[in-house]
């Protein structure tokens, strides 16, 4: 009996780029698998190797060593089979200025040998809120619209494995929500989704498993839930007129204007509140939450730096 292959496999993948200052190791012995039907996040700071790893998967970069497979097909040896099962939304905002939105999607469908793509393209245009721009030249679109066309191009052949490299950069909140709703639907229909994003809350709410890369190495691979549990801790936001001097080192200023604290447990909250009381600053609002992926991410990458 043969079991179905993983959606994606990386087996000891390394990638070195030549550079004037010597070779740069963008990926260092990366191995992990993504099972079929997963909604998977690939996280890491800038330069961690996320895009290089996706490039290896998509055949845009050749691994220096190791192999990558899509649904069991080697991306180098069986590249036609692998690529026909993969849809990639590249990170960089790119388009062909010669064509309209509809022509762009039709052309991309034909590259993959999709016949009679019309109804699916109509649905993509609707889902991506581009129907009214179907006849517009790509040059005439805003950045967010171009990004949505790129999403459409990646989905036009209905690939079983979809990779989105920072797909929501420059896309407004409402459309971002629509896009994620659409991705959830595709995931529900059996598509495997791999996502890289800087918006960690997106990964946290959507993805069941997470891989974290740093400096080309895999530093964490676990379910989102276990990663968060492993980090532990309490996240606290306090709104107040000013920050007591005693807490200057431990607080971060949030976008909301509140002061954020990451505490080891709930008991530690008393120390923070005591500092506010002794400084004569009254607390206007207090919010307490569990650990988030950002904390996990920061802690894991910091730990890795410490042991390097």
């Amino acid at each position: 009996m043969t079991s179905s292959p993983p959606a994606v496999e990386f087996e000891r993948v390394s990638k070195t780029f030549p550079a004037a200052s010597g070779a740069v190791r963008a990926l260092d012995d990366v191995s992990f698998t993504v099972e079929q039907g997963e909604f998977f996040a690939l996280l890491g700071p800038n330069g961690a190797g996320k895009t290089t790893l996706i490039s290896v998967l998509a055949g845009l970069a050749r691994p220096t060593s190791g192999t990558a497979r899509v649904l069991g097909f080697d991306v180098t040896r069986d590249y036609r089979e692998a690529r026909s099962r993969l849809g990639v939304v590249p990170q960089e905002l790119v388009f062909d200025p010669f064509f309209t939105v509809r022509e762009t999607l039709e052309l991309q469908a034909r590259y993959y040998g999709v016949r009679e793509a019309g109804p699916w393209i109509d649905e993509l245009l609707t889902q991506l809120d581009l129907t009214h721009k179907a006849r517009a030249n790509m040059r005439a679109l805003s950045g967010g619209m171009k990004r949505r066309v790129m999403v459409g191009q990646a989905l036009v052949h209905k690939p079983p494995v979809i990779v989105l490299d920072e797909p929501t950069a420059g896309v407004d909140v409402e459309l971002r929500q629509n896009l994620w709703a659409f991705m959830k639907r595709l995931n529900g229909e059996g598509h495997t989704i791999i996502l890289t994003t800087h918006y960690l809350e997106e990964a946290e709410s959507l993805c069941t498993r997470v891989a974290m890369l740093k400096a080309g190495r895999l530093v964490a691979l676990d379910s989102t839930e276990r990663l968060l549990r492993g980090v532990g801790g309490v996240s606290v936001e306090i709104s107040a007129e000013r920050l007591p001097e005693a807490l200057a080192e431990s607080a971060t200023l949030q976008a909301s204007g509140a002061f954020g604290f990451t505490l080891p447990d709930h008991a530690a909250l008393e120390g923070v509140l005591a500092a506010f009381r002794s400084a004569g600053v009254s607390v206007r609002e207090l919010r307490v939450g569990g650990a988030d992926l950002e904390q996990a991410f920061l802690r894991l990458t910091a730990r890795d730096a410490g042991t390097a």
């Binding site: 490039s55 845009l60 089979e81 026909s84 790119v94 993959y112 229909e189 059996g190």
Partner: protein
């Protein structure tokens, strides 16, 4: 959505749907801006004809006076415009895709190196033929009708197709090699333009001193022009068979280089 469906490309397919799609895109690309890619070169070539024929028609004898200079000039101009536009088509398409970074939409799908090569080169051939046909049409009023009806049309077709394919392939190589428009301009201005102008478009090489005749024989473009001209008049500076053999060899070498560059992903995949 059916997740178990087989991909649209059967294993072992030599020319898959990606080839047809890419060829269609290449043709659509130049057709959408036909004023710039077809009409403009036709007009420019017509200006060459008007100026050169006006100045030189009474002064230059070719093929021992059997062919009027203007009639001699037209096939050379047709071929020159075909060669230059075939080169321009593949090279500009590729460099634009590289500079705009949208080449990724061709690199991501399951399209083989052979399919990419053939699509770009055939696109270039079709543009070359469209421009060549346009030049032939607009020059008809300036030359006696019988002079522009080919004596041996199969030779014309062979040299037009293989000449354009050689230049389309050279354009593909130049587009792959170039990292910016400047690089391509170097290729175009210091290689393509001098070699086409010095290939006997405007004169028979028998009118040159012996040294320059020898130099002309080293120029592959000379054989393309000379062979194409043979199709019109049944007369040429060298045997059309020799010209065809050299042109095919030129095609073979260039296509081997282009296919190798595509297969290794040189400057396309990291």
């Amino acid at each position: 959505m059916d997740m178990t469906r087989k991909p649209a490309i059967a294993r072992g397919t030599i020319l898959g749907p990606g080839f047809r799609a890419l060829l269609g895109k290449e043709v659509l690309r130049f057709w959408k801006v036909a004023l710039q890619t077809i009409v403009a070169p036709v007009v420019t070539t017509l200006l060459y004809l008007l100026i050169f024929s006006h100045v030189l028609d009474e002064h230059v004898r070719v093929y021992d006076g059997r062919v009027a200079y203007t009639a001699f000039l037209v096939p050379g101009l047709i071929m020159m415009s075909m060669l230059q536009n075939a080169f321009a088509n593949s090279s500009s398409s590729l460099i634009q895709s590289k500079m705009m970074r949208n080449l990724i939409f061709i690199l991501l799908p399951p399209i083989t190196s052979l399919e990419i090569y053939l699509a770009y080169v055939l696109g270039a051939v079709l543009r070359g033929l469209a421009v060549g046909f346009g030049v032939w049409l607009v020059t008809l009023p300036f030359v006696p009708w019988h002079a522009l009806v080919p004596d041996h049309p199969l030779w014309n077709v062979a040299f037009a197709v293989f000449g354009s394919s050689a230049m389309g392939t050279l354009g593909l190589i130049a587009g792959i090699w170039s990292e910016k428009f400047d690089h391509l301009a170097v290729f175009q201005n210091f290689f393509i333009m001098p070699l086409t102008f010095l290939s006997g478009v405007f004169y028979s090489i028998h009118s040159l001193p012996v040294f320059w005749q020898t130099v002309s024989h080293l120029n592959p473009f000379f054989y393309m022009i000379d062979g194409f001209r043979y199709g019109f008049f049944g007369a040429a500076d060298v045997s059309p068979w020799l010209s065809l053999a050299i042109l095919l060899l030129f095609n073979l070498v260039l296509s081997a280089v282009a296919l190798r560059l595509l297969a290794t992903g040189y400057k396309l995949r990291s």
